[in-house]
Symmetry: C2
Subunit: 433 residues, 2 copies
């Protein structure tokens, strides 16, 4: 039959699939998961810090005493019990009844990723433009590519998204921009945070141009110095979609996230989710509900904060002590990531195989851009490896960079190839996103 | 801002969303969930038949002893342990190494619904045609509508899909048909099964025309008389996508299903799933893996079979004893559903409010067609309610029908309005799908 060869399937793919290409660096990440490799490439929380015995007891009760509901189908929007708890959690960030937050407008999702995918399904037609920070979350690039949308990156500096750059991009998009996708707090991968003043400025710009805002806030509670600035949603109730997840504050293995949506669109989001997954897992929702009802979840967040602060310090100290001259990096006040920029002429993607050979892994900057830029930078994670491992990883990375610089001194500058590949062509796997 | 009113959001929706309308009968189903209502509308397995204490113990171990992996991120394709177990499960249906089944070609999904959505994302462009049984799974109609595809229904009889009708539909589609979506065994909602002879005939037709086959098999193991005919995938390895789920053989609350895909497309499916959900729940996958490794799952399936056989008999007997003349229905050899056709002139959708008032619920036939037909039929579920409740429900339904017929005798035939509404406009919620 005509369906028997790879070519025949390829001929049948939907247009949205044709741009999908697998990353040449994915194979390297498989190697990077070996124990002898220090991986600074991941994005995983330090789950060992959870009280696993107590969680186990909770899971047991959930199945034994509540199994006829927790193991059964649920409703598409998610249980009202969890949506009420989610509203309690959001009050810690200043999102509450005073700015119109209600369990009725919360849609429970399969982690933050499905939340983002649902918003894209609701608003993006092929050819639409999405404005996003450059660099931005690799998983978001995958969503926008699948939606056949075009991503325009907005420059950031140490204060986050640059308002003038946003204005310019909106003008350039000429009405084709559907929304701004932004991670204002402890941004992945850049590790920078949008300042108070800029939050108001950015919201004013979007309001003036009638641009919707998709605010992704997985890291806001993981602050190391005082509290994070209030989310955009806490400042504007209309035109802002607030997305978050329990993956960083509890556990990613349950895949529970949410959208707080403007009331007018909530029902459409639920229908889109039902077409996608029928309903979110009743067991996973029950687990998060029980966790938030019966366990000291606020203290757990403090625990994560302390562990990650120590590890961020270990990473920043190691970079300070060991990186070759000409290397620069961000200094995050929270979250999981540091963004480093290499000395002139080094190519983070070209360097990857040699880094893996030296038993250290990172994510090359190209994974976080839709346009193939980012060869001069890379992302380093500090939430998962222990402080001494982090320092050893940086030592190995510095060694590889010194070798590259030495070769360059001998053979002259190797101009980094600025590949204009399809979005996400360098995307790492989920465990690295 | 321009995003402050419902109209403003509506103007921004993607084209795929514009056809999305909420069902007027959804509100009725909310009422139908009240305890005094006998609901024959659901599609839920009888979870109380599970050994919940043992499941609870298993869940406890999974978090306590394996938490650092079961509560962590996983990989997009799903764990190799679960994919190996899934291949063991499929051997019971005759899908094994001899016909090329391999864990490498299995993609773990968020229930059968995401499996279907991923296949649609991979192959469907707006305007493409999908061929499907009429009636068909309501959740599939939601997927195809979201993909902006057109559904052409193929007639069924007591032996399942009618080959001549498939031939005609392929010819009519004139090359725009991307695949045949079929539930060959204990079909939802019709309760019929494609015969052995017809399976070969249907496969030959699809092969001859180069039409891909998407085989949805959630019910195949729930047989009441002997074993079900072997799945289509057990007869052809190329051109057939095999979709199934643990929702009916274990528990739907975990949302774990899978696709066995032709090797050439498996990687694209994984990338599509990562863009959608990043990765399936490691905890849910661990739960299913442990369940299949440490618990008597084959015996549990036998238990479900026995319970459902008794309930099917209760439903068929009650229909036989109580239904007004002119009513016909299918006699399923397995699965969860009976499809009933009303006496001339009765309208299952128009009758719904009166049925709810009489404290009985069903799903009107219109929910299972993309073209608004089905007003003369309805779906009855027998897996969830106890036998005596089933009989009481049929008694109430028969009473409502008698009244309708009496009114009709007095006021003359009320021609059933054949609404040509958008697909899924009568779609019930997930708990009824």
């Amino acid at each position: 039959m005509t369906g028997t060869t790879q070519d025949d399937y390829t001929d049948r793919y939907a247009r949205r699939v044709r741009g999908m290409t697998t990353s040449e660096i994915r194979a390297l990440f498989a190697v990077a998961s070996r124990p002898e490799v220090v991986s600074l490439a991941g994005g995983s929380p330090y789950i060992a810090a959870l009280p696993l015995d107590a969680v186990g007891e909770m899971m047991s009760k959930l199945a034994t005493d509540m199994g006829t509901t927790s193991l059964q189908y649920g409703i598409g929007q998610g249980t009202v019990e969890l949506r009420e708890r989610i509203c309690e959690v959001m009050t810690l960030s200043g999102i509450d009844a005073s700015n119109g937050a209600s369990p009725d407008d919360v849609v429970v999702t399969v982690g933050g990723q499905q939340a983002l995918d649902l918003v894209a399904r609701l608003f993006l037609d092929p050819g639409d433009v999405v404005l996003a920070e450059g660099p931005t979350y690799v998983g978001a690039l995958g969503v926008f590519q699948a939606a056949q949308a075009q991503v325009r990156h907005i420059a950031m500096d140490a204060d986050g998204l640059v308002p003038a750059a946003l204005e310019a991009a909106i003008a350039e998009a000429g009405g084709r921009a559907k929304f701004l996708y932004t991670i204002p707090t402890y941004q992945n991968p850049a590790g920078v945070t949008l300042t108070e003043e800029r939050r108001e400025e950015i919201l004013d710009i979007c309001e003036r141009h009638g641009l919707l805002v998709v605010e992704d806030d997985p890291y806001g509670m993981l602050s190391f110095e005082g509290e994070a600035p209030r989310p955009l949603r806490a400042r504007r109730r209309e035109g802002v979609f607030y997305l978050s997840t329990f993956s960083k504050t509890f556990a990613p293995g349950l895949r529970v996230g949410w959208i707080l949506a403007p009331h007018a669109v909530r029902e459409k989001l639920v229908m889109a989710s039902e077409a996608n997954i029928l309903c979110p897992s009743a067991f996973a929702q029950g687990a998060v509900t029980q966790y938030l009802s019966t366990m000291p979840w606020r203290e757990q967040i403090k625990t994560y904060r302390e562990i990650y602060r120590e590890r961020r310090d270990a990473l920043l100290d190691a970079l300070e002590d060991l990186m070759p001259a000409g290397t620069t990096w961000t200094r995050p006040d929270g979250g999981l990531f540091v963004w480093a920029t290499l000395p002139e002429g080094l190519d983070s993607k070209a360097m990857m195989p040699r880094a893996i050979a030296a038993r250290v892994a990172y994510v090359p900057g190209t994974g976080f851009y839709a346009d193939g830029t980012g060869t001069d930078s890379l992302r380093l994670n500090f939430s998962f490896p222990a402080p001494e491992r982090i320092r050893e990883g940086v030592r190995r990375l510095a060694g590889v960079m010194e070798q590259e610089l030495a070769m360059r001194a001998v053979f002259g500058p190797t101009t980094p190839h600025r590949r204009r590949g399809p979005a996400g062509a360098d995307a790492p796997g989920p465990d690295l996103a």
